[in-house]
Symmetry: D3
Subunit: 295 residues, 6 copies
C-alpha cells in the first residue's frame, strides 16, 4: 500500500503545476541525443503526450540531426563547404526535406501510439514559416533561410481541434523556393508567434555555465540581464551563444520562460515542469520570480 | 535524482488512465469518515481537483452526515422517530438544508484553494432534483423525498463553463416544498441522468464481501449478475443492500462502472483510477472486462 | 370587456420600458421589510421574475437580516460588541453563512415556482467575491470583509444560460477564510463589475429627503453632484449615508441609474420601471435626463 | 397609488402566459377591418411588437385587401371575371405585388416606430414560397398560385437575428413566374413549415358559430373532431369553410392551437393570449385542454 | 478541343481575381440602360450571381428609373416642379415606393432563377437607412431625403446567412415618415457603412473624361487628388459631378476602389473584375496601384 | 472587345456548375503523367486551386510514382520481387514515405503559390488511415497495407478551417507500424469516408473502352450495372480492373459520381466539371442522369 500511496502523492504534487500551465502553449525544441537514443526518445514523447493530456498545449519543433548527413552520404553526394559551413545546394535541400518529413511522421507514430492525435507539418504547410536567404559572411551557402514571418494560424487551428502539432524547420521564400532553417531559430520564432508560456530546448549539455570550463558553475536560473552580461564578458561560447541569444529574444518577445534542458536525462521535461528539481538552466525576464519557491 | 525519476515514472504510468477518462463525467458520492477526518477530507478534494485538472469532469454529491445531528441538538430540538427512522419535520428540514449548504460551501472553499473554480448547488438550483414524498412502511416520516426527475442542464452548463459542480441532496416536490434526499440515491440518479462514465461511492467499509462475516471474502470485481445472486442469497445486508441496489441500477442505466471505495484510505480515488491496485469493489455490467488487465 | 381592454392597455404602456431595458442587467438589492412580510416577498419575486421573462437580466443580491440574529440566539450564543458593532466570530460567521444559504434557496424556490430557473450562490462560488478583513476604528470585529475583487464570470455564465442568479454576501480572503460582507456593498460591487444598467435598493424608507426631518422634502431625482452637496452639508445621516455613498460610487463606475426604493410598497420595482409614478429616489449621473419625461 | 398597483397586478397576471410562450413562434394572419381602421391597425401592431419584446417570436402574414382593388381601378383597368372570380392577369398581378409590397413596408414602419426591427418579405425572398398554378373548376383564372413548398430558412434566419418578419403572399412557380396566393393559405402553410405554437387569424367575424344564423351559438373552443362534424353537417359556410379547413390542416400538421379572432376588437391578440377572456374561437387538437382552465 | 482548352484557360485567368476578392463586399449601384434593356439586365444579374457564387459578397443597390415616371402618369397624376426638380409629394412617394419594391422583387426573381437565394429590402427594413428632409435651394421639394445614418446590421446578417441583399433607396426620418433617396447616394452610403472593397456604378456613359467634349480623353484611372483638380477646374459637369463627389467620398471613407462602369456593355462587371481590359474609370485612393499591372 | 466578351461568357457558362458543386467535397486522385510533366502538373494544381476558390472543397490524394523507384535505385538498393510484385521491405518503405512526403510538400508549395493555404498529410497524421497487412496470393510482400478504417476528422477540421488537404497513401497498422497503400484505394476509401460528391482519377488512359483493343469504343458514361457486366464478360483488364472496382465501390458507398479522366489533357478537371465536353469516363449509380443533358 505504501508504494501506492507514494504514487498518489506524486500525482498530487503535480497539481499546482498542472493548474499553472493549464491551456498554456509550450514549445519544445526536440533535438540532440534525445532524438537518437531510443530510450530517451520514448521518454520525451511520453512527457509531451502527458503534458497534452493534462491540459497543456505542447508544440514540438524538431530537427533532423545526423539522419540528414546519413542520407546525404547514402546517395553518394559530395559535401561542399564555405567558411567551414556545409552548403545546402538543391539536392541537399531535397534530402533534408525528405528526412525531416520522415522524422516528423515517426514522431506522429509514437505520439499516436500513446493515444493522442498528432499532425506533422513543415513550415510550408499553411504558409507557417516564410524565410529569406541567409548569407554566411556575405557568401552564398545555398538554401539556408532566415525566418521573416510566421503565420501561426495552422497551429492555432490544430490546437483548437485538439491535435498535437509537430513542426520541422523548412520554409518558403517569397518566390516559393524551399529553404532549410536552423531548428532552434524556428522553435524560437514559433514560440514568439504563438506567445508561448514556455520554450524548452532539449540539448546535449547540462545547462549554461558561468565559467564554460567549470562544471560546478552551472547556473540554474538566469535573468536576461545577467545573460547579456555573460555574453558581453565573453563567458558564453560555441553553440551556446546563438541558443542563448534565441532565449533572450524569446523572453523579450512575450515568452514567459525559456529552459535549456539536459536532454540526456530521461523525462527531463516532466522533471523540470512537475518537480522543484531544476534541470538545466531557466532564463527569466526581469522581475520574474522562480515560481517553485513562492506561491 | 533517482527519486525524481521515480516521480516522473509515476506520472507516465498515469498516462493511459488520463487518456481513457479524458472529458468523461465522474460522479463522486462523498460521505462517511472522509467527510469528518480533516486529513482524508483534504485528500479527497485533492483527488477530485486533480481529476478535474487532467481533463475529467467530476461532479461531487455530498451528504451532511453527523453535522446535521450536531446542529439539531445544538438548537435543542427533540428528535422524533417512526419505525426507528428519524422524522424530518419542517424544522429539522430547515436545519438539514442549512447544514448541507454550509458543507457545500466549505468544499467549494477547499477546491478553490487548489485553484479550480467550483459552484455548490442544492437540487433546488436550476430545478435539478424533483422529488415526491417517501413513506416508510406507509407511515409519514416527514420531508423525506424520492427522486422522480433530474434536470441535468445546470450541471452540463457548469461543466461546459469549466466549473466543478458540488451538489447536496435537497429537492423540491411539485408544489415546491423542500425535501431531504438520501445522498446515495441522489448520486445514483445524477450519474444516470448525465450518463456518467463512473460513479464512485466513498464509504466506511472495505468493499463488498462474499460472506459479510469474513474479511477475506472481499470482492474486487463484481458483475451485475453476481451482485443480484448475492442479494438473492441474502449475503448482502444492512446499509450495503440499498447501496448495491443503487450500483446495479446505475449500471443498468448507462453508467459504465460503479465503485464502492474505502474512503478511509487516503487518495483512494486516485489509487482506484490511476493504479492497478484495486481499492474496494468495482461493479461491472455484463461482458465488461477489467480494463486494468488487458488493453 | 372594458376591464379587459384596460388590461391590454396596461401591457401596451409597458412596451417602451420593456424595449428600453431589453437584455440589460439589473441588480436588485433585496432586504428589509420586503424580506420579512410574506406578501411583499411574493410581490418582489413576481416583479423580478417578470423582468426576467420580458427580457431583462436581473441579479438578486440579498442579506439575511433578522433571520441571522434569530438563529444566533437560537443556539444560545452570547453576542459580543466592539464600538457598538456586533463581532462576527467564527461561530457567528458559520451561522450567518448557513442562514444566508437557506434564504437564497428559499428565493430559488419562489422563483422556480413561477417557472423561471434560478441558482443561488454565495460569493465563494466561482470565486465571485474576494475580500480582505475590515476593521472598525482599528479594532478587530471578526470575520467582516471588504470586497477587493469581483470575478463576475459565473454571473455572466448563468445569465447566458438563462438562469436567474441569486447572490448572498459571503466571500473568501486570499487565504480562503470565510467573511461576511455588507449586502449593500456587495450589490454595489457586483453592479459595477457587470456594468449594470440599473441598481435598485429595496429599503424601508420612502427615499432620500432634503431635510431628514421633513417627510415632504422627499427627493425623487438626485444628481450625483447634489448628492455630494447634501452629504457635505450634513443633511444625510444614519443608515442613509453609506447607502448614498454606494449609489454615488456605482454611478461613477458605469451603472447608469441607481434607485432607492421603498420596499414596503408592493410591486415597487415594477412601478418604478414600468410607470411614470416615481417610487423613492433615483440617483443620476451628470447630464442624465429623466427618461420618463422626454423620449 | 391604487391605479398604479392595479397596473402592476395586470403585468403580474401576464407572467404565466409570457412564460408559456417564451421563444415560441406565433403566426398572425393580419387582414380585414384591422387593416383598414387606423386605430385597430395601431392596436394590432402594438400587440405584435409587445409579443416580440416579451420573448415570443411572431411572424406577420398579411394580405392587401381593398387596397389592391383601389389601385387596379386607379390605373383604369377593367376587371375580368370567371366563375365569379376575379382573373389575375399579368397587369393585375403587377399591381397586386406592388400594393402588397407597400403594405408590408408600412407595417415595418409602424413596428420600427415602436422600437423593434422588422423586415418585410414576399414569398419570393429567399425562395420562401413555391407555388403552382391553381385553376377554378378547371378554368384559368390567371396568376393565382397554390403553395407547393415552403423554405422557411429566411424566416429562421431573421428570427435568430431578432428581426420581426412580415410576409406578403406572393410566390414563384418553378419557372420563376409571379403568383398571387390566398393570404390565409400562406399563413397556414408558413405556420406548418415553422411548427408554430399558435396561428391566429384576425377576421371580421366574432368566431365560429354552431348555427351560422344564431349569434348566441358562438363556439369558444372547438376540437378538430367537432370542427369536421360541423363541416360535414353543412353548418359551416361561406368564407368560413376554407378558413376552418386551414385551421384543421394546421392543427394536424404540428401547430398546437389555432385562433379565429375578432379583429374588430382592439387588442384582441393580447386579450386572447394574456387573459382568460376568450376572444373568438380556438381550434384544438384531440386531447388538448384549454390551458386557461387548469395548470 | 481547342475551344474547350481556351475555356479552361479563361477560368484559370480568373483565379488571381477570385482569390483577391474572396469574401470581400462589393456594392453594385444598378441603374440606367442596364435596367431597361432585357439583354443587359440578364447580363448584370449573371455577373452579380457569379460573383456571389465564387465567394464575393455582392450587394445590389438599385433605382426605379423610368418605371416610376411611367406609373405616375399611369394613375393620371400631375407632376409639380420646383427649381426644375420634380416634387415628391405624398402620392408620388407612395408610387415610387411601390415601383421600387416591384423592381427589387423582379431582381430577386432573376437571381433565384440562377440558383442563388436573394432578399430585396428597402432602407426601412431593419432600420437600414435613416434620412432627414432635403431642401433644394431652401425650397421644399417634398419627401426627398438625405441619409443621416446607416445601420448595416441587416446586410451583415443576410450576407452571413448567404443571401444576396438587394436594396432600394427608400428610408425613414426620425418621425418614421417615408422618403425617396438618390440611388447613387444610397449606394455610396452603404458601401461606406459596410467598408466595401469595391463600389461599382453602372452608368450610361463610357467613364470620366478629362475634357467632357472629347471622347478620346477618357480616363481609365483617376486618383482622388486628380479627381478633385478636375472638379476644381470645372472639367466635370452635369450628372457626373455628384457621382464623382460620391466616389471621392467613398474612397475617403474606407472603400478601396470605386468604378464608374459603362453599363451599356454586356458583362461590364465581369470584364472589369476578371480581365485587364479596363471598362470605364477607376477611382483610386492616394498611393494605390493598379493591381492589374503588378502582382 | 469581342475576345473579352467571349471570356465573360465562358465565366457565365460556369455558373450552373459552380452552383451545383458549391461546398461539395471532391476527391482528386492525382497520379500518372500529370505528376511528371511540369506543364500538366501546373494545370492540375491550377484546376484544383480554382475549384477551392469558387467554393468546392477539394482533397488531393497523390502517389509518388516513379520518383520512389528513382530514389530506391539512387541509394543502391536491390529490388526484390514476389509474384512479380515489388516487395516493400522496411528500407523501401522508409524511402517511399520520404519521397511521398516530399511530393506532398511540393504540391503544397504550388498551391500556396496560387494564394491558397494547403496542408500535406500522410495517413498517419490524425490517425487518418488505419491498415492491416496485405498478402499477395498468401505471400508476404512486406509493408503493403489494406485500409481497414478511415478517421476523416483531420480532413473535416482542415476543410472547416479553409485549408486544402493533400494526402499521401501511408498508414499505420494497429501496432503502429508504417505501411504503403495503393493510392487509388486510398482515394476511394477517403471519398467514401467523407461522402464525397465526386471522385476523379487522373489517369494515363483516355477512359474505359467497351473493347480494350478498339479506341473508338470509349465509353463516356457507364452505369454501375454495365460496369459489372463489362467486368463479368472479361472486357476489362490490366490496371483498369482494380480501378473500375474502386469506382463501383465508391458509387455504392455514397459517392455520387466517379470520373476516370485522361490526365494527359491539360485542365481535364475543369473541362470535366465546367463544360459539357466529357473527358474520359463517368461512372454513375443506377437511375442517375447525366446532369449536363437535362436540368
Amino acid at each position: 500500500m505504501n508504494t501506492y500511496l507514494e504514487k498518489a502523492k506524486v500525482l498530487i504534487e503535480a497539481l499546482p503545476y498542472i493548474q499553472r500551465f493549464n491551456r498554456k502553449i509550450i514549445v519544445v525544441k526536440y533535438g540532440g541525443s534525445a532524438m537518437v537514443d531510443e530510450e530517451l526518445k520514448r521518454s520525451v514523447i511520453q512527457d509531451v503526450t502527458l503534458l497534452k493530456l493534462v491540459g497543456f498545449k505542447p508544440i514540438i519543433v524538431h530537427g533532423g540531426g545526423k539522419e540528414i548527413s546519413r542520407w546525404v552520404s547514402k546517395v553518394g553526394m559530395e559535401p561542399k563547404f564555405i567558411n567551414g559551413l556545409r552548403v545546402t545546394d538543391k539536392e541537399t535541400m531535397e534530402i533534408a526535406e525528405m528526412v525531416l518529413g520522415k522524422v516528423g511522421k515517426s514522431l506522429v507514430q509514437l505520439v499516436e501510439g500513446l493515444g493522442v492525435k498528432a499532425v506533422s507539418l513543415s513550415g510550408k504547410d499553411g504558409g507557417l514559416l516564410k524565410v529569406e536567404k541567409k548569407y554566411s559572411k556575405g557568401e552564398d551557402i545555398g538554401f539556408v533561410g532566415e525566418i521573416t514571418d510566421v503565420d501561426p494560424q495552422i497551429l492555432y487551428d490544430l490546437l483548437e481541434k485538439d491535435f498535437l502539432p509537430i513542426v520541422c524547420p523548412v520554409g518558403l521564400d517569397k518566390d516559393f523556393n524551399t529553404y532549410n532553417i536552423n531548428a532552434d531559430d524556428a522553435a524560437c520564432a514559433i514560440a514568439r508567434a504563438v506567445n508561448a508560456e514556455k520554450l524548452a530546448f532539449l540539448t546535449d549539455i547540462e545547462g549554461v555555465r558561468r565559467d564554460p570550463e567549470d562544471p560546478k558553475s552551472l547556473i540554474s536560473e538566469l535573468h536576461v540581464k545577467e545573460a547579456r552580461e555573460l555574453i558581453a564578458n565573453g563567458n558564453i561560447g560555441g553553440g551556446m551563444l546563438p541558443k542563448l541569444n534565441n532565449c533572450i529574444d524569446a523572453i523579450e518577445n512575450g515568452v514567459s520562460r525559456v529552459h535549456i534542458l539536459d536532454g540526456r536525462i530521461a523525462h527531463c521535461l516532466l522533471l523540470e515542469i512537475f518537480t522543484n528539481k531544476g534541470i538545466g538552466t531557466a532564463i527569466l525576464g526581469e522581475g520574474e520570480e522562480n515560481y517553485y519557491d513562492g506561491k
